[in-house]
């Protein structure tokens, strides 16, 4: 998918939606029950779920999340922000 000309805000929105879709699929919960302000704990994502989620996110975005960064991610927003950073590094 080309994101040329969509601007940073638009691109962020896409990342958010894709992350939320992956979480919904992995946790077997509706998309509209997930928002950026929720922690993994709120979403009942335990340590093993979290590792599994990272794996799916890496596939979804074609990125590799280093172990040390993965340990810092504990909410939906931290996940989307981390992905944007890794995508920016990938494009640079």
């Amino acid at each position: 998918m080309s994101e040329a000309g969509t601007g940073p805000g638009r691109a962020t929105g896409l990342v958010d939606a894709r992350v939320i879709a992956v979480i919904a699929r992995m946790q077997k919960i509706p998309v509209d029950s997930i928002n950026l302000d929720q922690s993994f704990e709120d979403l009942k994502i335990d340590s093993l779920d979290g590792i599994n989620l990272m794996f799916e996110i890496e596939n979804e975005f074609g990125i590799e999340i280093p172990d040390e960064e993965a340990k810092q991610i504990g909410s939906v927003r931290q996940m989307t922000e981390g992905i944007e950073k890794l995508l920016a590094l990938k494009q640079a």
Binding site: I51, F55, D67, A70
Partner: protein, 404 residues
Amino acid sequence: MSRRVAVTGIGVVSAFGDTFGEFWTGIAAGVSAIRPMTLVPPGSLRFANAAEAAGFNPTRHFDDKEILYLDRFAQFAAVAAREAMASARLDAHLGDRAAIVTGCCTGGQSTEDENFHSLYAGNQRVSPVTIPRVMGNAGASRISREFGITGPVYTVSTACSSSNHAIGQAFWMVRSGAVDLALAGGSEAPFSLGFLKSWEAMRVVAPDTCRPFSLDRRGLILGEGAAMLMLEPLEAARARGAQIWGEIAGFGMSSDAHHLTQPLAEGAARAMRAALADAVTTPEVFSRDAGYINAHGTGTTANDATETEAIRGVFDGHAHRLLVSSTKSMHGHALGAAGALEAAATLAALRGGIIPPTANFTAPDPACDLDVVPNHSRAAEVEWGMSNSFAFGGLNAVLVFRRA
């Protein structure tokens, strides 16, 4: 009938070499055998270090035809069993009053990996020796044939607790009189690319080294090898003038019934309490002369803090007298062989009066506030030892040892 049970022979294959002597010399000196991996292509994983039995050469121990039928993990088991037999000064053909109980988590991992890879790459045929090489009991069966052991022979698979469950079962059989001799321990050879990739995906393997109980610990380091112990009734061992490494005094098991991978302090504590009760001792008596605990101590954030909480829960006001070290910092986490290697270390520590350290230690973690014998071994006359194993799946197995 309830008999005291002595350990009269020990055999080890590890990253330190093919003998118990090399293993104990290394860990007693606080040397870490963690090195860059050689068994998988460099750069294929996010971690690069392990405690491989890099010096193990099967042609030194087996002829070519035997090697064809034995995966690396079964070779390790047989070599360790031979050393245990020799050090116990027992001859072959032990018969049906002897048992073998081995622990193994993954079986013939590299055989499976190589054959399935070849199949998926387009080769339509798989070697007919794949099944006998892969089966988890291949090591136990080999030892049975080699030494004519025709009594109870089986293999226990409970991930990282496999060996402790195996040794505990064998201990109970000898104690009860069900058998008069038992070879017990475990072996593991987990270095296939597919299996290592699976560990990488779990994000629990350290990129540098294994630093149990350190504030900056970053995970476990995988290891491989085998250890076998010869168990026999103490009185019989004394009567025949056997060397006695120590006694196995108690065994306790529990299941967390909690989570697939997250440890639970209360589950670990229940296994420790059960092992102390089985040894007819108490936390107070155990720790009176600075008891030694060879910790599960994987070096993961979760294990080491949870294990500390469990030890504090069991030993309460006596915990400060304990010496607690994780020898995984030196021989790596050998999964289904871990408990066997650590039993060998614990017995040697009690007999030699030298407590092996937690190597690679950098900074204390307030969540792991025990005396973890950082970096340097310590001379200490210790009466009691304990060796902890806590497996994925929440299965806990703890052995209690006593100096002979």
